[in-house]
């Protein structure tokens, strides 16, 4: 009876070990496959991300270029308009009057006078 019990026990142990081994092997295979798949997914994602970043930065550069040249064109047009608006205008008399007002009323006109001095460069250079 004891022998039979030993046999059953041994056989059960062997079976369990085989099941455990098979399970472990399967788990390894699954894990390996998952890792490989994970790497592939990660690689693809990284590649896609690089492509997207590249594309966005390319598009960004192009848009900035368009924006910059458009802005330059507007500023050039504005510069010409300012020159034409200042033609024949005596800016120095305005600066003198403002400084007089500053002395009398105490109003700070520094920024305004600086601005007019910058405009003077346009009108003076426009005369050349």
């Amino acid at each position: 009876m004891n022998d039979l019990w030993d046999k059953v026990k041994k056989s059960a142990t062997n079976a369990s070990q085989k099941v455990a081994e098979t399970a472990a092997k399967s788990a390894n295979v699954v894990a390996q496959k998952a890792t490989t798949a994970g790497h592939t997914v990660a690689d693809t994602a990284a590649k896609s991300a690089k492509t997207v970043v590249g594309a966005v930065s390319y598009v960004g550069d192009k848009v900035s270029d368009i924006g910059k040249s458009t802005y330059d064109a507007m500023c050039e047009f504005a510069a010409e308009k300012i020159k034409s608006m200042l033609r024949g205008i005596d800016l120095q008399s305005a600066i003198d009057a403002l400084q007089k007002q500053q002395e009398e009323k105490g109003t700070d006109v520094t920024n305004l006078v600086n601005f007019i001095n910058q405009l003077k460069e346009f009108s003076e250079n426009g005369k050349e």
């Binding site: 960004g60 924006g67 330059d72 608006m85 109003t107």
Partner: protein, 130 residues
């Protein structure tokens, strides 16, 4: 003054000058300035207004990253219209338009999908309003 220098000067003023504050000072102090100098200050206020109109364009040109999607969604004609509108505002800053400015704007109006009659009407309306 070279073309590039003019552009740089305008862009420097737009980027650095406290335009709103300068305009307030000019408006306030001009009440006490006798003619004809007060008329000069009025012209300076018009120039400040003109440059102020370019300030949002400047920030959009510099900070383009945020605008990529919206810019891509715009058609070429919509972009041409935006450019024309801004330039039209600049041209009409003093309520007058020279023949040279008009001829400069005409092809830009066509590119923006504005018909010849509509372009002429826009100018008449704007000049009359001023």
């Amino acid at each position: 003054m070279a073309k590039s220098e003019s552009i740089r000067k305008v862009q420097t003023i737009i980027a650095n000058a406290p335009l709103a504050e300068i305009r307030d000072t000019a408006k306030t102090i001009n009440e006490f300035i006798p003619p004809p100098v007060n008329l000069v200050i009025n012209i300076i206020i018009l120039i400040i207004d003109l440059l102020s109109k370019l300030q949002p364009v400047a920030s959009s040109a510099v900070g383009k990253a945020a605008d990529i999607t919206s810019d891509l969604e715009k058609t070429d004609q919509e972009k041409a219209r935006e450019l024309f509108d801004a330039m039209f505002e600049i041209a009409m800053a003093d309520g007058m338009i020279t023949d040279e400015e008009k001829e400069f704007l005409r092809p830009r109006a066509i590119a923006a999908g504005i018909e010849e009659d509509e372009f002429e009407l826009m100018i008449i309306n704007k000049v009359n309003r001023k």
